[in-house]
C-alpha cells in the first residue's frame, strides 16, 4: 500500500496562501486511497502555476506545452492503455489555449482523469483574465472588465457526454480527495474542475467567494440523470454545486479498437508474416 510519504514533499514555486497547496494534498490522498504507487501513474501537464503540480509529486510525469497536455495524455493512453494517465493543469491552459483539445477529449471519452485548477485567472503570467474569469473582472489586459461569457467547462463536458464530470473546491480538501479518487476510478474521460483561490491575482473570486457561492451536492442528485446534470451544471456565479455532477458508462475511447486488449502493442515484435501480408496487397 502506498502512503502519502511515497509521493514526496517538495519545495514549491507557489505563493503563500495559494489553493494549490490543498489541491496537491488532495491529489496525494486520492492516489493513496486509490492504491496507486508513484511508478504506476503518469501525470501529464501543460504550463502555468497549476501545471507545475506534478513536479511536486514523486511520479512519472510529462510536463508539456501550455495548452497541449491533453493530446499528450491522449497519445500516452492510446499507446499504453494499461497506464493510468492523469492530466493536471490550469483553467487557462485547459480551456483557453487548449480549448479544442478539451472538446475533443470529452467527445472521445478517452480514459484520462483531468484535474483542472480553476482559479479564474492566468496566474503565471501575472493576472490576465482566463476563460473562466467572471464578467467585469478587471485586469491590465481587460481594463474595462471582462466582456466575454465565462466558459462553463462542467456544462460543456456534460453536453459532450464526458464519462465523469465533477466539481471540487480546494477549501474542502477531503471532499476533493474523494472526488478525485472517484474520477480516477472511472474508466472514461473524467473531468474534475477544481475551484482554487489565487490570492495573488484574483481578489474577486477569493477563498470566501468560493466558500460562499458553493454548496455540496447530496444524495438527492442522481449523476446518471443527464437532464438534471445539465441543469446543475448551468450554475456559474452562485449556488454552484460541488461533487459528482454527471456520470455515464459510455465505453472509453481506447477500449473500442478491434485490437484493444488493454495492453500496449509496442512491447511485441513486428510480425514479418503480417507485414508480408500487408505488402502483398500492393502486388
Amino acid at each position: 500500500m502506498p502512503t502519502i510519504d511515497d509521493f514526496g514533499s517538495f519545495e514549491t514555486a507557489w505563493c503563500p496562501g495559494c489553493g494549490n497547496f490543498q489541491l496537491l494534498e488532495a491529489v496525494k490522498q486520492a492516489l493513496v486511497a486509490s492504491n496507486i504507487a508513484p511508478h504506476e501513474v503518469l501525470f501529464v501537464s501543460g504550463i502555468g502555476q497549476a501545471a507545475k503540480a506534478p513536479q511536486y509529486l514523486n511520479c512519472n510525469y510529462f510536463n508539456g506545452l501550455h495548452g497541449r497536455g491533453l493530446p499528450v495524455a491522449t497519445g500516452a493512453k492510446l499507446a499504453n492503455p494499461a497506464l493510468r494517465v492523469i492530466y493536471e493543469s490550469g483553467d487557462g491552459c485547459t480551456y483557453g489555449e487548449g480549448g479544442n483539445h478539451f472538446l475533443a477529449a470529452a467527445r472521445r471519452n478517452i480514459g484520462i482523469t483531468a484535474l483542472v485548477h480553476d482559479n479564474r485567472v492566468y496566474g503565471l503570467t501575472k493576472g490576465q483574465a482566463s476563460p473562466t474569469s467572471q464578467q467585469g473582472f478587471e485586469t491590465k489586459a481587460q481594463p474595462h472588465g471582462v466582456f466575454s461569457q465565462p466558459f462553463n467547462a462542467v456544462q460543456v463536458a456534460v453536453a459532450m457526454r464526458a464519462g465523469f464530470v465533477g466539481r471540487g473546491f480546494t477549501g474542502h480538501t477531503d471532499h476533493l480527495a474523494d472526488l478525485i479518487a472517484q474520477a480516477i476510478a472511472h474508466p472514461g474521460f473524467a473531468l474534475v474542475d477544481i475551484f482554487q483561490p489565487c490570492p495573488s491575482f484574483n481578489k474577486l473570486n477569493n477563498y470566501a467567494w468560493f466558500k460562499n457561492n458553493t454548496y455540496m451536492l447530496g444524495d438527492e442528485h442522481n449523476p446518471d440523470d443527464w437532464e438534471a446534470a445539465m441543469k446543475l451544471a448551468s450554475a456559474m456565479d452562485e449556488q454552484i454545486p460541488l461533487g459528482v455532477i454527471f456520470r455515464n458508462d459510455r465505453p472509453a475511447f481506447e477500449s473500442q479498437f478491434a485490437t484493444a486488449d488493454g495492453k500496449p502493442h509496442f512491447t511485441k515484435q513486428v510480425e514479418t508474416a503480417a507485414l508480408r501480408e500487408v505488402m502483398g496487397k500492393y502486388a
Binding site: P38, N60, G75, A104, T267, M279
Partner: protein, 566 residues
C-alpha cells in the same frame, strides 16, 4: 515511323474528378506491374471532388525508369476536354481513344462504342480491356485483377465485369491499329513487384521499422500515409487517431512515443506550420518522433493538389530554440521505404524529431518496386527493459554522446520525468545557469549521433564533369534522366542527389562540387533553398539554378530546356 514493338510506352488517362479516373489508373498500373513492366506515374488533379480536369499518366518500360515523358503514345479521354487539352501531346504515331458519344475530333482519334461494350457502370472495365488489348497484356492476368479488385465488395458484379473486360479486349484487338504490337512484352518476375506510390512506401517503411502509433489531421497530399497505416493497423498493432487539429496530432505522437510507441505524424506545409511548437517540445523532452511532410505549393493554402519543394527551410528551422534534427528527402519510391525506416532508427538513436520531406509528385507517383525484403529488418529498439540503467535513474543524465538512458513510464519502479522547461538531469524544472549550459551542450552533442548516420549524396554520371546537376528529394529521377540525355548527346555531365538534406557533411560532396566546371542546382522552388543551404554550410556558391514553381514536378524536358539557357 518505327513500327516495331517498343520497350517504352507512355499513356495518359484524362477526365474529370468523380469519373473513377484514379481507380482506372491504379488498375492499369497493377496490370502493368504484374505483367512485369516498370512504370512511372504522374498524377495531376484539381482541388475538388467532382469536375475539374485531372490526368493520370503512366510511362511503362521493360527496363527500369525513373521519370515521366511528355509525348503520349496513348491518350484515353474520358470527356471531350480530355481530347481538347491533350491531343497535341500525342506522339507521331500515338493514338487517342474516346467514347463515340463524346463531342471530340482529332487525328488518330479512335471512337470507342462503350455503350455497346458494357453498361454504364462497367464502362471503365471495358476501357481497361481496350487499353490492355492495345498494349498486349495477358487477358487472364487482367481478369484476375478485376475480379480481385471488385469481387470482395461486390461479388454480384463478377460476371458483368468479366463480360465488360472481354468485350473491351475483343473490340480493341479488332479495331485498334497495331493492337498488341506496339509494346514489347515484359518478363514477369517470379517474385512479383509491388505497385507502390511514395506515400504507401513511407507507410510500409514505417510498419517495417515498428511504428505503433500514428496521429494526423487530413491534409492533401499527406493523407494517404496515415490511411495506408490505418488499413494495416489491426494486423500490425498500430494505434491511430485522427486528431482534432495538427497541434493535437504532434502532441499525441509525442505522448505515445514518450510512453513507448514508435510514433509518426504526416502532414503538409500548413499543417506542419501548426506543429512547429510541438517539434520544439519533442526536442526539449528528447522524445523520438517522425514527421512526414508532403510538400505542396504555398504560401498558405496555395495549390493544394500540386507539387513543390518549397518547405525545406521551414522544416530545417522549425521549432523555437536550438536543437539537432535530421531531414531525409527520398528521391524514389524505394527511398521512401528505406529512408522512413532510417528516420525511425535515427529518431530513436538521437531521441528527437526526425523529418521526411516528400511532395505531391512523389506521394502520388506509382512505380514498380522490386519486392521489399522483410526478413531480418532492424526495428526500433523500444526501451522496455529497465535493467541497464544506472541508479538513481536520471532521464536527462549528461553523457558523452548527449544521449541519455530512456525508460518508459510504468515499466519499472524508476520514475520517468520529462519537462518542457529547462531541467536538471532528473527532469526537474531549473533556472540554474550551469545546468542550462550542460543541458544545451548535451542536446547539441546529439548532432554527432545523427551525423554518424548521414547518408552521403548519390553521384551518377561523369566524375569531374563539365556540368554537375545538384538536386534533392523527388527531383532525382528528372535530373538523372536529363543528365543521361545530355551524356547521350556527348556532353560531360554528372549528378549529385541528396536524399538526406540535413545535416550536411561537406567532405562528402564539396570535392564533387569543386571538381565540376559548372554546377547547377535543380529545385522545385523559387528561391533555390538548397543551393543557399549548401553555401551556408560550405561557402560553395552555386550561382546557377533551374527552379520550378508552377505546381508541376521538374521533368527532364524542363531541365534540359533551361540548362542550355542559364
Amino acid at each position: 515511323m518505327d513500327t516495331n514493338p517498343r520497350d517504352d510506352f507512355n499513356l495518359m488517362i484524362a477526365g474529370e474528378a468523380g469519373q473513377g479516373l484514379a481507380t482506372f489508373g491504379e488498375l492499369v498500373v497493377k496490370a502493368l506491374v504484374r505483367s512485369g513492366y516498370y512504370i512511372v506515374v504522374t498524377q495531376s488533379y484539381h482541388s475538388r471532388i467532382r469536375g475539374g480536369h485531372n490526368t493520370f499518366a503512366v510511362r511503362l518500360s521493360t527496363e527500369p525508369i525513373s521519370t515521366s515523358r511528355d509525348a503520349l503514345d496513348l491518350l484515353v479521354a474520358m470527356n471531350s476536354d480530355g481530347v481538347r487539352l491533350h491531343h497535341d501531346e500525342l506522339a507521331e504515331d500515338g493514338i487517342a481513344l474516346a467514347d463515340e458519344k463524346l463531342d471530340a475530333e482529332g487525328a488518330r482519334l479512335v471512337k470507342v462504342p462503350f455503350g455497346d461494350l458494357a453498361p454504364g457502370k462497367f464502362a471503365n472495365t471495358a476501357g481497361l480491356g481496350v487499353v490492355a488489348a492495345l498494349i498486349g497484356l495477358d487477358q487472364a492476368l487482367v481478369d484476375d485483377l478485376v475480379q480481385e479488385q471488385f469481387g470482395k465488395k461486390h461479388p454480384e458484379t463478377a460476371d458483368s465485369n468479366r463480360t465488360a473486360l472481354e468485350n473491351g479486349y475483343a473490340w480493341g484487338r479488332e479495331h485498334l491499329p497495331r493492337a498488341g504490337k506496339r509494346v514489347k512484352p515484359a518478363t514477369r518476375s517470379s517474385t512479383p513487384r509491388l505497385a507502390l506510390n511514395g506515400n504507401q512506401a513511407i507507410a510500409l517503411g514505417a510498419l517495417s521499422a515498428g511504428v505503433r502509433f500514428v496521429s494526423f489531421y487530413p491534409m492533401t497530399p499527406s493523407t494517404s500515409i496515415p490511411l495506408t497505416l490505418i488499413a494495416a493497423a489491426d494486423k500490425m498493432g498500430v494505434a491511430f487517431e485522427q486528431a482534432e487539429d495538427e497541434i493535437a496530432a504532434i502532441n499525441m505522437a509525442i505522448g505515445a512515443s514518450f510512453t513507448g510507441a514508435p510514433a509518426m505524424v504526416a502532414t503538409s506545409g500548413g499543417g506542419f506550420a501548426l506543429m512547429v511548437e510541438g517539434i520544439s517540445l519533442a526536442a526539449m523532452t528528447e522524445t523520438p518522433v517522425v514527421i512526414a511532410v508532403a510538400q505542396r505549393p504555398g504560401p498558405a493554402t496555395g495549390l493544394p493538389t500540386r507539387t513543390e519543394q518549397g518547405d525545406l527551410e521551414l522544416v530545417l528551422h522549425a521549432g523555437h530554440g536550438e536543437f539537432p534534427r535530421a531531414l531525409y528527402a527520398p528521391g524514389s519510391v524505394e527511398q521512401c521505404f528505406h529512408l522512413t525506416r532510417e528516420a525511425f532508427l535515427t529518431a530513436e538513436a538521437s531521441q528527437g524529431p526526425v523529418f521526411i520531406l516528400t511532395d505531391q509528385f512523389l506521394a502520388d507517383s506509382f512505380r514498380a518496386v522490386d519486392p521489399l525484403e522483410v526478413e531480418g529488418l532492424e526495428t526500433v529498439p523500444v526501451p522496455v527493459d529497465a535493467q541497464p540503467v544506472a541508479l538513481p535513474y536520471r532521464r536527462y543524465e549528461v553523457t558523452d554522446s548527449g544521449v541519455s538512458p530512456r525508460l518508459l513510464p510504468g515499466f519499472s519502479e524508476h520514475l520517468v520525468q520529462a519537462d518542457s522547461d529547462e531541467h536538471d538531469e532528473q527532469g526537474h524544472i531549473t533556472e540554474d545557469h550551469g545546468v542550462r549550459i550542460a543541458q544545451v551542450d548535451k542536446r547539441l552533442r546529439k548532432l554527432d549521433v545523427i551525423q554518424e548516420r548521414v547518408i552521403p549524396p548519390d553521384a551518377s554520371g561523369d566524375p569531374n564533369p563539365d556540368l554537375l546537376l545538384v538536386c534533392w528529394g523527388s527531383a532525382k529521377g528528372a535530373v538523372e534522366d536529363a543528365a543521361a540525355q545530355m551524356r547521350a548527346q556527348g556532353h560531360s555531365v554528372g549528378t549529385l542527389h541528396f536524399s538526406q538534406v540535413w545535416p550536411l557533411v561537406p567532405e562528402q560532396f564539396v570535392p564533387a562540387l569543386e571538381g565540376a566546371k559548372r554546377v547547377i542546382c535543380c529545385e522545385g522552388n523559387a528561391m533555390g533553398q538548397f543551393a543557399r543551404l549548401i553555401r551556408r554550410e560550405t561557402g560553395f556558391h552555386i550561382a546557377d539554378t533551374v527552379l520550378r514553381y508552377d505546381g508541376l514536378p521538374l521533368t527532364p524536358e524542363y531541365i534540359l530546356e533551361r540548362c542550355c539557357t542559364t
